[in-house]
Symmetry: C2
Subunit: 686 residues, 2 copies
């Protein structure tokens, strides 16, 4: 366990450096929040005051005799470092730096932040912040933030980490209005010392935390973050809202793969690979905050029980649209239901108990259905004679008898069902206003429980030699081909042609049909200058091609350009299937591998799947169901699909081993019979 | 104006047939609702009672002396027809049949419903229902439904039509809890007489209705519905939630096009073409119900003004994800803002006024920004010193000064901002809990205002001759080719080969390379049996191909099969781009035309756009930006794209003229240089 974080969250004594007498100042709200919540010793540091909020004020923390566990610092940015040094002298173990005025304000702040980092490097003191809202622990209670002291915050089992202080206070306020409780609330600010990964590691082991929710805008150390995230999801659900998803790609990207990958793609991949649940709206967060730890979803087959046909219809729509399935109801269950329900009922999923369904009918039906132990959404729509509160009580009774039952209720309507909803919410039962909310929870948790312990059998099976790449410049053509030969990816046979007289001998090795290409480090897209002649069928065609391309080199003054002769893997095939394989190094998360529809129109078709170098068996399975997966299997069968997965793994290992490589394009990789052969090769380092 | 609907919504006298003394019965709730709301004359018909709820009860409606405008019928299904006949005799102009027990309960009910329809055909009486919840008019007030009489319903400007009674009552209850009012609320039930289209026509002209919201599960008469919808959207926004969107396709579909079209696709297309806004969640409906008529959105460039960086970030994400744009802030505006805002502010979109933004800072900033008259989302996040209610008042003042300002506010948080939210909601201002809600409204209304008056210039330009198709069976190969030649779609040259001796002469017409195919009405997918030999380069190859295919015909006993010789439009091209053009007749909405990525892998790639026969210029523009559009333009330029659009229009006219045709597949349509040539032809009638 990270003892510094433990100390910050469970201090016995706190000093507020920069406590303020002015009730409109941050330093006043912090002290007030601590006073209202904390049972340990509180000290105040403010050289200009005698006492604040009835507590004696010290000129400096060093003047305090007692031991101080945590200093909460809220003074002008330029004074923070000095205060930290005082803390160190006083042997304070940790500090929360609330003060803003660091990297977030530009140049001057960046300098200040570097100095802070430099100091912390050689200091024992551990820091949260700066530029943060502070930290709240709900058990034992201590609120070291400047959130409005009137905000009610409930104890719960969700830890919330936020990179935005403003969103944090809004979300906490909103959550409390919706009966959602927390175990810990942490605003990380600029995270100069303790970062998101450290906190995730701590919360993973925290027994009072059953799920972890994060609002992130960016990550500095992708590798460290991923490691922590992967470990955490083995123990409890982690839910992430990522701000800044816009898919801007730098226009300078030369590779196909790089231009197909967006900025957010790497985050998405990393979160998915680590088994974290991602949401895209603030409101999506709330239901997960409340219910993510309440039950496990181990199947994607969902049952819907309703008293309103329309409610069943729209719920089925959401289930299908989320990639879940409507469960088949077995004969035995249908027969059991037929004894309970009126003859006009629908005994198949969605099970319609009809508009006059009484609480007893709900009870009998749910008793049968919950035996199946599948995620079940029970819908109540207020109708003539229906009794919402009594129905809610029936649902509560059923939930109470069985622990962790994946039974989610939706009470449609407003005033008429308000009491029923409150009854269930106050008892901690998963109940929702709209069917899509229940479906989203099931879908998110099904993803979590089916990706929690990924297997890597296929990945491990792939015996890739690690190949070094020493190139310092972008490398195309034959120079790149030989690299991929070493990596273990099948490539078209090829030779460099230095002069016309070498052509004849070259064709002995290559055969017909063949392809003649210009190879120049100045030309990333040869086709655009007419630098590729394919399907050359005999020597006379080859001679003509040679003259043609030589002329292009001359006209375009391509210094150092060469001609290269390759076998033509398409070999006259009418409908060749061309795949794109590529690699792209994300600045935060490192390499990602692309498998897409290739060929000269790859960018227009824009159909590409990305995987991480260490690809899980689950991901391979998902890939096989994607458009590109289906296309590969349709053209080359499972054998070629497996071969291409192998190529992807090899490419991944190659990029992991060679950090100088930025992007790789193998396009096209041609499916020729029962194998796949890369026919064009590019390595980008700059 | 439809006078029957006018009469139903504005009756002077109502008779309740089947009013009940039992307070738990539907007939009791209806009478109670009418009594609580209606100021005209109320009569009660129940042969078993003397009086109900203090009103004298008649044995039959015919016993009543006064004129009756509307009869509300809630008696057992088997007695409904008799009651209707009484109504006719009494010269009642309209009836609302609440009673269930018709088509929705199966066979017995279907018969009852047919009898009802037969009677209505020759009757002057107009009917809403059966199997419905009833009708509410808010001005003048009359509630002729059995919704819980305790449900508060507010007067507003939205008309709500629902095919599900249960959802209607839930949504009305929920809407009222959220201060959303209605002009009319209509449950259509089985719609044996007055249907959704009639109601839309009426509501289009209704001055008290500013927007129309529909919950639909299915439509019987697609053509009539579309006509009404198109007219209505010219006058006011129409918002549709369609239940039953699951993409089940009948497994019997033989054509590519048919299998690529799902059941929901036709609805989606029809709604989009008619300019209706579609939503997929019940909760999405509410914001549109409340705000769809409050402002017009005429640009997709959105401005975000915020006091919290995080709030700006997530709002920008939603804007980009909805296909909208972040507006560029011009130099003049930036300069104006720089005079108002502190130096650390972000003067570019999203405009960040910083966490300590006072109401005055909001006011000054919004005064500058609203001058630009672009949709603007103003975000408030509760922070130290921020004043939510005062900020809300500033927003209100600004809205009051300018009518229909597209200014949407989001107050993040819960208890802290509740009063501010209430302040704005009570004054009818568009304010939301989460940024995505504001973005969805802008996106929906931008769609509406940019599709409201579609232009059909390209469609009109296409002079397609209407070609008759008399075929009574599925028609493939040459028999189909000659049809498309007449339609005006370029096809590959071809001849039927009856015997080997005809080959030589045929090649004089066709030339090399050529393609030899089996043509048989028993074989829809020739490739699967090896029935196509392409790229035949000389006579000896042709002879071999002939023998080969003749043998297949013999082996597979394909009676009546013929061989057909075609030019090979691919002509050795290495990366031919193959498009799929097709037609599919939806049982409700009629023909839809498919333009997709074609070739033998069309189903795996599954990239297809559907258009209606009468394609708008807007849709053509959207098509050009789709993946298939980009592919066509990349391969053949705008000229070929325009040619293919022309083919689509011709195909559409052809299908409209020939109602016996179910599906058409032209796959592949090969892009050869600056033209597109269909190379395979199938017409399905069965």
């Amino acid at each position: 366990m990270n003892m510094s974080i433990e100390k910050i969250l469970n201090p016995e004594s706190i000093a507020v450096i920069g406590a303020s007498r002015n009730p409109n100042k941050v330093g006043s709200a912090i002290l007030k929040n601590i006073r209202l919540t904390f049972r340990g010793k509180i000290f105040v540091v403010n050289p200009f005051a005698e006492e604040i909020q009835g507590i004696k004020s010290y000129k400096s923390i060093t003047n305090i005799k007692d031991r101080i566990d945590v200093a909460v610092i809220s003074i002008p940015a330029e004074k923070v470092l000095k205060a930290l040094k005082d803390c160190e002298r006083k042997k304070v173990s940790a500090a929360i730096i609330i003060s803003a005025g660091f990297k977030e304000i530009g140049k001057a702040g960046e300098k200040r932040e570097s100095e802070l980092k430099a100091f912390l490097k050689n200091s024992k003191i551990k820091v949260i912040g700066p530029n943060c809202l502070g930290v709240i622990n709900l058990d034992p209670l201590v609120n070291m933030t400047f959130v409005d002291p009137n905000t009610k915050i409930f104890k719960g089992t969700t830890a919330f980490i936020s990179q935005s202080g403003a969103l944090l206070s809004a979300i906490v306020d909103d959550a409390s209005a919706n009966d959602i409780g927390f175990s810990k609330i942490i605003s990380v600010g600029n995270a100069v010392d303790i970062d998101e990964a450290d906190l995730i590691d701590y919360l993973r082991e925290d027994e009072k935390t059953k799920s972890i929710v994060l609002y992130l805008e960016g990550i500095t150390n992708g590798e460290k973050f991923m490691r922590s995230l992967k470990e955490a999801t083995k123990k409890k659900p982690v839910i992430i809202l990522k701000g800044g998803r816009s898919n801007k790609t730098s226009s300078a990207v030369m590779s196909h793969t790089g231009s197909l990958a967006g900025d957010y793609k790497a985050y998405e991949l990393a979160f998915e690979d680590a088994g974290a649940i991602t949401v895209s709206n603030v409101d999506d967060l709330f239901n997960f905050m409340r219910d993510a730890s309440k039950f496990e979803i181990k199947t994607d087959e969902v049952i819907v029980v309703t008293n309103a046909g329309g409610g069943g219809v729209i719920t089925s729509d959401h289930i299908n649209e989320q990639g879940l399935k409507m469960a088949q109801i077995g004969d035995k269950t249908v027969s059991d239901l037929s004894k309970i329900l009126p003859p006009e009922s629908n005994l198949h999923n969605p099970i319609d108990m009809l508009g006059d369904a009484s609480p007893d009918r709900y009870k009998d039906t749910l008793n049968v259905i919950t035996e199946l132990n599948k995620p079940t959404i029970v819908i109540f729509s207020p109708q003539e004679m229906s009794m919402p509160l009594e129905t809610a009580k029936v649902i509560y009774d059923i939930q109470s008898k069985k622990q962790n039952l994946p039974l989610l209720s939706v009470f449609l309507g407003g005033t008429n069902v308000e009491k029923a909803r409150r009854f269930l919410i106050e008892r901690g039962l998963p109940t929702y206003e709209y069917p899509n909310e229940a479906v989203d929870i099931i879908s998110g948790l099904y993803f979590y429980y089916s990706h929690r312990y990924p297997s890597y059998d296929r990945y491990k099976k792939e015996k890739a030699k690690v190949t070094a790449f020493q190139g310092k410049k972008n490398t195309f053509g034959m120079n790149a081909k030989v690299v991929f030969d070493r990596v273990g990816i099948k490539t078209t046979a090829g030779v460099v042609i230095n002069k016309e007289s070498e052509l004849n001998k070259a064709t002995e090795k290559i055969g017909y049909p063949c392809v003649l290409k210009i190879s120049s480090n100045d030309v990333a897209h040869k086709n655009k200058i007419g630098g590729v002649i394919t399907n050359i069928k005999d020597y006379s065609e080859l001679e003509k091609a040679f003259k043609n391309l030589s002329q292009i080199i001359k006209d375009a003054r391509l210094n150092g350009a060469k001609l290269e002769l390759y076998e033509d893997a398409i070999n006259g095939k009418r409908n060749p299937v061309e795949i794109l394989l590529g690699g792209h190094r994300d600045p935060v998360f490192g390499p990602m591998i692309a498998i897409g529809i290739g060929g000269v129109h790859a960018n227009e078709i824009d159909e590409v799947e990305f995987v991480l170098p260490q690809i899980s068996d689950q991901k391979i399975n998902e890939l096989s169901g994607s458009k590109v997966g289906k296309l590969i299997i349709s053209a080359g069968g499972n054998q070629v699909f497996d071969e291409i997965v192998g190529y992807a793994i090899k490419l991944g290992k190659f990029m992991v081993a060679n950090k100088n490589i930025k992007d790789i394009d193998l396009n096209p990789v041609i499916i020729a019979g029962n194998t796949a052969i890369a026919a064009d090769f590019k390595i980008f380092v700059e």
